[in-house]
């Protein structure tokens, strides 16, 4: 900036002094006016969605305050697809079965059940009630499930009900909804017919898409089911009593919940903040405003300085490089894929590049926390011990070049998401493949939906992709690369893979079924369908007075159902 004006008259001392006094007066008036105005704003703001903060733990009222990552789009369990809705619904609703504190399957609305080759029967308990006092009956499940598969509902999770007889046909509009293989024999007995044997059906019904919906209440909401706190009925350990969009929710203890001895110990849980900013969450935790937060590696020094007990958990997701197996792609060539496989090592990515202490190097599509027949799946079926071998990688690349009849490889497209971790990984692979194989990759960074659309259209050679589990069974990953799975966006197509997946879906003998998954794991490596990158985990901290808080690999990412306040441990 420059001082303008040709003739500048220097203000004399006296002038400055008196003008300074004048200015001070103005400032005084301005501040007074400001204070009055702010007071006015305060009154107005009271009307517009307040989050009024409380403390993280209120021992006197037996309540806690937490932060949510996002505003749940709506709380219609039949249609929900996002993590935030799952967190809320897992506390205020209950399905036929649920998970206990150690993530083991336990009875929910159903007190016992039986799974046969051709179907299943669930016996419902007498003392499970909706929040308006009406008992939860088998009809509520029948209504809910029919609604999910009805193409009119357009539920994006309808596929999870496909094991039920005719579900897929109904969902594709080939059969009427009435033909769905589920019926209420009585108020307390629910009968299910299977399309094919489904030994893991008990794990499916714990998922939120299977939660009950009561018909008369649903109809009374006139299309606004799940849009507001009073547009839902609850049957979980907590009730949603207040929902101010974009800012706060209040979950209070459900006094009529049948299992209140074991679940729902807090009088109130308040979600007072909605933010994706992890630094803001850390600051809120530090200031004692929220009970827990997760940490990224740059925050760990701060956490250690504060002497917080740092815990960690796997979030369930596995991330991998997915190849485009379409005919016109170079990545269709197996020797080419083998070359890339041999030229990389996920240990290096995780330990030297990403440096997130809670991540595990990817060794398989099936993450370490999944269980097999009697113990961990990876223990029963150890994945191939991968060794990086650049020599051999170059040999395979040369074979691929000859098979494809190329003089040299053209630049290839690597599709990546816009998150920092995704970018870092993409850049690592880019330079790794350049150094080890002399291959050029162009990184195509896209935001979430654009990346998915490009994957669907097949506009990539390699994509940085990932998968999170829906239910606690190996199959939640196991069928990803079947030729019929819409999720298989690289269009991998192998009869051998398909036949193993069919066995994994329907085999009733647990050992034979797990063997099939073992074969799928072997094939994924031998045929180089994907290159596992890492299993994601989180470091997190939780207020030391809150006991039995859990972060989950399957189900809600944060679980306060079993949490209680122990004021003596500080």
């Amino acid at each position: 900036m420059s001082d303008t004006g040709s003739v500048v008259i220097e203000a004399d001392q006296g002038f400055t002094h008196s003008a300074g006094i004048q200015l001070a007066k103005f400032a005084g008036i301005a501040i007074a006016g400001l204070a009055a105005f702010i007071y006015l704003l305060w009154i107005i703001a009271g009307e517009a969605g307040s989050t009024t903060s409380g403390n993280a733990i209120d021992v006197e009222n037996n309540s806690i305050t937490i932060a949510l990552r996002e505003e749940p789009p709506q709380l219609d369990a039949n249609r929900a697809t996002d993590a935030s809705s799952l967190v809320v619904l897992a506390h205020v609703m209950e399905g036929l079965l649920g998970y206990d504190i150690d993530a083991q399957l336990v009875p929910g609305v159903a007190e016992r059940y039986e799974i046969r080759a051709d179907g299943a029967t669930f016996w419902l308990r007498e003392d499970s009630f909706w929040s308006d006092g009406v008992p939860v009956t088998a009809k509520d499940f029948v209504f809910s499930w029919k609604r999910v598969v009805d193409p009119e509902t357009a539920s994006q999770y309808a596929f999870i009900l496909y094991p039920i007889k005719n579900a897929e046909a109904i969902n594709s509009g080939e059969l009427p909804v009435e033909t769905l293989g589920v019926r209420a024999v009585s108020d307390r007995v629910l009968e299910v017919d299977f399309e094919r044997p489904t030994p893991y059906f008990d794990k499916l019904v714990a998922y939120l898409t299977y939660f009950p919906v009561r018909e008369d209440f649903f109809n009374s909401t006139e299309g606004r089911y799940g849009a507001d706190a009073d547009m839902l009925l609850y049957n979980g350990a907590y009730l949603l009593t207040e929902w101010v969009h974009g800012s706060t929710m209040r979950w209070v203890k459900n006094p009529s919940y049948w299992n209140r001895e074991n679940k729902g110990f807090l009088d109130e849980i308040r979600t007072a903040y909605i933010t994706q900013d992890i630094n803001a969450k850390l600051n809120l935790f530090k200031d004692g405003q929220i009970v827990d937060t997760h940490l990224l590696s740059p925050m760990l020094p701060t956490a250690m300085e504060q002497r917080w007990p740092i815990d960690r958990s796997m979030d369930g997701s596995v991330f991998y490089l997915e190849f485009n197996h379409r005919d016109d792609r170079i990545t269709r060539n197996k020797n080419f894929r083998r070359a890339l496989q041999l030229a990389q090592d996920s240990n290096e990515l995780v330990y030297k590049v990403l440096k997130e202490p809670s991540y595990l190097p990817g060794v398989s599509l099936f993450p370490a926390w999944l269980s097999g027949v009697s113990e961990s799946f990876q223990k029963e079926y150890p994945p191939v011990r991968h060794q990086m071998n650049v020599e051999k990688a170059r040999e395979h690349l040369e074979l691929a070049r000859q098979e494809l009849g190329l003089d040299e490889f053209p630049p290839l497209m690597m599709l990546a998401g816009d998150t920092p971790i995704s970018l870092l990984s993409a850049e690592y692979y880019q330079q790794l493949f350049r150094k080890n194989l002399g291959l050029e990759f162009r990184i195509d960074v896209q935001i979430f939906k654009q990346r998915l659309e490009k994957m669907r259209q097949g506009e990539f050679d390699i994509v940085l992709s990932g998968w999170g589990p829906d239910y606690n069974d190996v199959l939640t990953y196991g069928d990803l690369f079947s030729s019929w799975n819409l999720q298989n966006r690289g269009r991998y197509d192998s009869p051998e893979m398909d036949s193993w997946i069919r066995i994994a879906q329907s085999e009733l003998d647990p050992q034979k079924r797990m063997d099939a998954f073992g074969e799928i794991q072997r094939l994924l490596y031998e045929d180089v369908v994907i290159l596992p990158m890492y299993e994601r985990g989180f470091s997190f901290v939780v207020d030391s007075r809150l006991q039995n808080f859990r972060r989950r690999s399957v189900g809600p990412e944060v679980d306060y159902n079993y949490a209680y306040i122990d004021s003596s441990s500080d």
Binding site: S18, L23, S53
Partner: protein, 311 residues
């Protein structure tokens, strides 16, 4: 004057229509659509959803439908928040952004005028150097840095004191607003300070101030009547666009301080390709911006009669 206002309004409506049209076609040309999701869906599910939202129509039909609804002020239902009307989202969340924005503008304007006048009075002396140094900082440091730093210092301060003096994040009481508003208004305050300083200096060396001095008008009267009043004009000019820019540009501050404002919806809608919310917020913000500029022009005419004469 009336015909001038009417003319400006007509221009404004044309501008908003142009913004809406450009956004509409740009948005539809981005790969993917709001229905794209992590879990792939069957063709019939997609077809049903497309029919529900009218995405199965040709793009020109969709545009015409959009224009018809726009003329009625109806933006439709959000794709992501499936049961909420875009109008409700704007109605519920804009007031939050607006309150924050107004407070920020007040901070910016008061601070800008005071500091600007101060630097001009103490030109080339210590207060001038100090304030101008801070001004350069205020302009060049991006708001996400300032926001994160101020939040961090709040936490440190609270920890030091032992209880929460000012809340770290959230919304509801005036205490929640002070720091975010200050952060939001900071760069504007810095800009206004500079503007006020140079305009004050220009006025100080003008003929009428010299005349007033030679007439023997008291110094305070010269300062208030002749200097401040004239020097403040350029500040008023930029204030309108500044209000609009601050109110619509609070995304980062809203994110960091977990404030339920509209800025968050504006940005998230783009990431989620939520067509209806993108259109709703864009048109709303566009109209707001245009409207603010018109108001400033009119107010300017009231303050300075010369502007009125020219039109």
């Amino acid at each position: 004057m009336l015909s001038y206002i009417l003319k400006r309004l007509a221009q404004g409506i044309l501008t908003v229509w142009f913004i809406a049209t450009a956004t509409f076609f740009a948005m539809h040309n981005v790969p993917g659509d709001p229905l794209t999701n992590d879990r792939a869906m069957t063709d019939i599910t997609r077809a049903n959803l497309e029919a529900k939202y009218g995405l199965d129509q040709p793009i020109t039909t969709q545009y015409l439908i959009f224009l018809r609804n726009l003329s009625r002020g109806d933006f439709g239902i959000s794709f992501v928040q499936e049961n909420r009307e875009v109008n409700d989202i704007i109605r519920e969340h804009f007031p939050v952004s607006a309150i924050l924005g107004v407070l920020a503008v007040i901070f910016a304007a008061t601070g800008g005028v005071l500091f600007g006048a101060l630097t001009a009075l103490y030109r080339n002396r210590f207060p001038d150097y100090l304030i101008m140094f801070l001004v350069i900082m205020g302009i060049s440091v991006p708001s996400f840095v300032v926001a994160a730093l101020s939040q961090l210092s709040l936490v440190t301060f609270n920890n030091l004191i032992g209880f929460t003096v000012l809340p770290v994040a959230g919304w509801g009481t005036i205490l929640h607003m002070l720091v975010p508003a200050l952060v939001l208004g900071l760069s504007t305050m810095a800009y206004l300070t500079r503007l006020m300083r140079s305009s004050m200096l220009e006025v100080t060396s003008s003929d009428y101030v010299r005349t007033a001095k030679s007439k023997g008008v008291p110094a305070t009267r010269i300062f208030t009547r002749h200097q401040l009043r004239n020097a403040i004009l350029p500040v008023v000019t930029v204030l309108g666009p500044a209000i609009a820019a601050i109110t619509t540009g609070g995304f980062v501050v809203e994110l960091v301080f977990a404030i339920p404002g509209l800025g968050r919806y504006f940005v998230e809608a783009v990431q989620q390709l939520d067509y209806t919310v993108i259109m709703g917020t864009t048109v709303f913000y566009g109209a707001f911006l245009v409207f603010m500029v018109i108001i400033v022009d009119v107010v300017y005419g009231l303050i300075d009669p010369r502007v009125r004469m020219e039109t």
